[in-house]
Structures are given as C-alpha cells and as structure tokens.
C-alpha cells in the first residue's frame, strides 16, 4: 500500500474544510503559528481591559457603568476561552503569561493608545470592537477546531460591545457642544489606529501566505480592513461625525470606499514599544501578576493540604 506523507494528508483535510483537532497530527510550524496567533489574541483581550477599566469608576451614569463593567467582564472571559484554546496546543497559561512579560508574545498595539475622555470609551467600543468583530467573524471559519469554536462564542458577545460604544458616541454627538467636540476628538484619535489593527498591507505581511494556505486566516488584512471601513463610514454619517480622512471617497467602480495613506511609521513605532502606553500596560500586568503570587501560592498550598487529608490512613 502506498503511504501518504502526513503533511499532504493534513493539507487535504484543510482543503476539504475539515477542522484540525488537538489530537490530530499537525506540522510543527502550524502549531507554532497558532500558538503565536491565539496567544496574541488572548493577551489582547486581557490587556484591553486596562484602557476601558480606567473609566469604570468615572462612568457618568449608573447604567453606563453597569454596561461597561459587563463589557469588560466579557473581554476577560474571551481571554479565558482563548487561553484554553491555546493550551490544547501543549503550552500552559503560565508559559503564555511569561512570554507576554518577556516581550516574546505580543498583544494588539491598539491597546497602547490612551483613553483620555469618556468619548474614548465610545470610540473603543465602536471602532476597536468593531474592527475586532470583522476579524473575528472571519476567524469563525479558521481551520483549528478549538480556535474556531472560541471565535463563535466570542462573536455572539461582541456585537453588544460595538453597540454600547456606538450608543455612547451617538449620545455625545447629539449632546452639548462640548460633548460633540469630545466625540469628534475621540474619533479623530482612534480612527487611524483602528485601521492599523488589521496589520500591514498584504504585500508586506510576514505571516500571511502560510496562514492563508493553512486556513488559519481566511481573508487578507486588506480585505478585512476594507470591509470595516465600508461599514463604519456610514455609521459615522448617521450620527453626524466626520471621519478624519480627506481622501475618503466612495468609489462607484470598486463599490468600496477609497481611503488615504496609513502612517505605517507610527504603526511600527508603537509595535516596537514606543506607543503612549506600552510601558504602562505591561508594568500594570506584571505588577498585578506579582502582587497575586502569594495568593496563588496559598491556593495551591491549601489544595495540597486538602488532597493529603483525603488519603485514608
């Protein structure tokens, strides 16, 4: 009988849209690629709790406070689903957190921008979650089973996030002059970083080709970015805010919006640690982790004692 090379049968499975499960054979590079992407995604959910968490104690109404708390709690939950999905690839959460702290693992650069006013909480929900949704909807069809299922769960919760942000923006845009200025200012500051969330242009993207072949990624950075722009421009019009891009224009031939040049120098700078909040976000995470060490030790010591008690004499 003819023996098939495992890499070939793996690709056959991928091409047939079958999901890869933890126990299945997979190329080492596929595994590494997934760990990189899923852990980056998990860390982003968790680090993303910081810029929004900033405003819980200052939320301007009890309702807004409750919605924001629930939203941030969701993001933490997303982090948990994704850490679990990542652990199925044979790496522990401790190792993942260590990689985050050492800088080996990344998180989305968008969270290195500061939330300066309450309108930023609107902008983050509307634009950052809005961009995340476009990406995550696409990833529901990713080839790795546990990642795909985590995405399906997450997408169910995400649309509420975008709505809460948009509602904040809409309320402020129709509010007092000061509120409207805050809303426009937040849009001005968050628009371009949101577009950068989709990553470099397809021609420049380091991980894209392999990821597409293995169907880890299903659509290219540029396709996803265009989809986000097309849906968001109209939403801005509805609430009377203007997108800070003089080159933005509907292209009847392409049936898409054309848009201006993205400042990739800024992107690279933030990626390399020079964003407004890189140091602060990491320092906070490391400090919380270190402050919790004695609690985790105590929980382990207690569990150990309980186990010993149960052993019959």
């Amino acid at each position: 009988m003819e023996k098939k090379n495992p890499e070939d049968s793996f690709q056959v499975k991928i091409d047939a849209e079958e999901k890869i499960e933890p126990k299945d054979w997979m190329p080492d590079e596929y595994r590494r690629n997934l760990i990189r992407q899923i852990s980056q995604h998990a860390h982003s959910e968790v680090i993303g709790m910081q810029p929004e968490g900033n405003w819980i104690t200052r939320a301007p109404s009890l309702r807004a406070k409750a919605v924001l708390l629930a939203k941030i709690q969701d993001e933490g939950g997303h982090g948990l689903y994704l850490y679990s999905a990542c652990e199925t690839l044979g790496i522990s959460r401790d190792e993942l957190i260590e990689q985050l702290h050492s800088g080996k693992a990344k998180y989305s650069s968008i969270f290195n921008y500061p939330t300066l006013t309450w309108a930023d909480i609107g902008a983050v929900g509307w634009l950052v979650d809005g961009a995340a949704i476009v990406n995550q909807v696409s990833l529901q069809r990713t080839s790795y089973g546990p990642y795909s299922r985590a995405m399906i769960r997450i997408c169910k919760e995400e649309s509420f996030h975008q709505r809460q942000g948009y509602e904040i923006m809409a309320n402020m845009a129709k509010g007092t002059l000061e509120q409207k200025q805050m809303a426009q200012d937040a849009l001005n500051r968050w628009w371009w970083p949101s577009l950068m969330m989709f990553g470099p242009h397809d021609t420049e993207s380091a991980h894209s080709a392999k990821s597409m072949k293995w169907k880890i990624k299903r659509e290219s950075n540029d396709e996803l970015r265009q989809r986000f722009i097309d849906k968001t421009v109209q939403q801005a019009e509805v609430i009377g805010l203007s997108i800070p891009d003089p080159d933005l224009q509907w292209n009847e031939q392409r049936k898409h919006y054309d848009f201006g040049k993205i400042n990739w120098e800024e992107f690279t700078n933030v990626l390399n640690g020079n964003g407004p909040c890189n140091k602060q976000r990491m320092a906070n995470h490391i400090q919380a982790h270190q402050n919790g060490a004695w609690v985790r030790e105590a929980a382990m010591a207690y569990a150990e004692k309980q186990k010993n008690k149960k052993v019959p004499a």
Binding site: K65, L69, Y83, R296
Partner: protein, 252 residues
C-alpha cells in the same frame, strides 16, 4: 419623621452601601491574582451595582421630587451618603478586600434574609432577588478566607491582620437610629441587634475552618448613620461624580 421619609433614608443607606462597595470592587478590574478571580470580582461589583440602582430608584420615587438614580448617586455630597465606613475602606491587598467582603456579606446575608419578610413590597422583592446573589458572594469569599487562612504562613498572616484591622468597623453595622425604630414598628425592617448573634456565629464557623482567631473586641468606629465618613469617601465621590458635576447640562 414620616414612614415615607424613614423609608427614603433607609433605601439610601442600603443603596449607598451597595454603590460604594461596588465602586471599590470595580477598582480591582484587571488587577486580580488570576483572571478567573478578576471575572468573579467584577461579577460581584455588577450585582452590587444592580442592587444600588434598584434602591436609589426606589428612594427617588419615595422622595417624589423628580430626582433620578443618577441624581442621587452623582449629585449628593460627602455628608449626604449613608454607606458604612467598612465598605469605603481602600482595597489594600487581596486579603484585605476579601476580609472586608466577608464582614459585609455575612451581615448582608442576615439582613436581606429578614428583609424578604418585609411588609414593604419593593424591599421584600429586592431582598428576595438580592439574597440569591449575596449567597453566591458569601460562598465565594468565605472559600477564599478559608484558603488564605489555611494556605501558607504568609497568607494566614495577611488575612488575620486584615480581619483584626477591619474589626473596628463592624460595630457600626448594627447601629440603629430613629429611622430603624419607625420602620421596625411597621414590620418593614428587622431589629439589627437580633442579627448580631447569628452574624457572630457564622463568622466564628468560618474562622474556625480558616484556622483564624476571632479578633478581639475593642474600640468601634462610628459616624455613617449621620453621614460622617472617613476621608476616603470624598475621593471616591470626586472620581465617581466628576463628569456629571463638570458638565451639569449634559446627558450621557
């Protein structure tokens, strides 16, 4: 003081307690020892906020002056808040937060259990709903108290010291004034002095499991029934109320 006025004040007392504790707990977001605990604390903060909203809405309705829950939360000043001194204490470390939570939750558990029998329908129905939440909070934090108490030497010392330090704020929980007298007569609220033995017993059971010593009785702080607080409350309110105060004509 009329029954209505007494009820208004009582609702503020309970509502402020939930609101300020929720505020303190929400300061933990993103800072807990593990991610699962981050979610649990946020969950408790959300429950407490829900209770606060119900109570402040009810208070506003009783007052009948057209104020809203947000007016009561955001437009009252330090001397008009009636939460206990206990819940406004800063978070400290994880042990301190859990100790504060336990002392409050055991009290809330017995208080809300009695309130389910209130002749006042809104309070009774709030209590029935909240009691389920409080039972969960109580279980969650007593499990932590036991783990920390019977964990390592360090965790034992931290939780014992926190409990000792916070004990001086527990006397106030049981203080009663004219408001209580009026509402007790109407069978709307319980006599707090009758809750004290139960509160004591439950705590002693938890302390025993946690290998903790019950703190010694001593001086007890007081003031919140008269709206006299620690310095901490002013900072909480400054942060919480800043937007509605800075932009009084705005709605959000």
């Amino acid at each position: 003081m009329t029954v209505n006025e007494a009820l208004f004040n009582y609702s503020l007392r309970l509502g402020d307690n939930s609101l300020i504790l929720s505020h303190r707990l929400s300061e933990w977001t993103g800072k807990a020892p593990i991610l699962e605990e981050d979610l649990a604390i946020t969950n408790i903060a959300l429950d407490k906020l829900g209770q606060a909203r119900f109570l402040l809405q009810y208070a506003a309705q009783l007052e009948g002056k057209g104020r809203s829950e947000d007016d009561l939360a955001y437009k009252r000043s330090e001397r008009e808040f009636y939460n206990s001194l206990l819940v406004e204490q800063p978070n400290g470390d994880f042990a301190f937060t859990m100790a504060r939570q336990l002392l409050n939750d055991v009290f809330d558990f017995f208080l809300y259990e009695e309130l389910t029998k209130s002749t006042n329908e809104p309070l009774a129905s709030l209590a029935a709903k909240s009691l389920k939440e409080i039972k969960y909070h109580l279980r969650h934090c007593s499990e932590w108290i036991i783990r920390l108490g019977d964990g390592t030497e360090e965790s034992h010392n931290r939780i014992q010291n926190s409990m000792n330090e916070l004990w001086a704020y527990t006397g106030e929980l049981f203080e009663m004034n004219e408001i209580d007298s009026i509402l007790i007569k109407e069978n709307m609220v319980p006599d707090l002095s009758k809750l004290k033995p139960k509160w004591n017993n439950m705590l002693c059971e938890i302390f025993e499991k946690a290998t903790l010593k019950k703190p010694e009785e001593g001086f007890m702080h007081t003031g919140s029934r008269k709206g006299v607080h620690s310095e901490y409350l002013g900072f909480i309110l400054a942060e919480m109320q800043y937007l509605p105060r800075a932009y009084p004509s705005a709605t959000w």
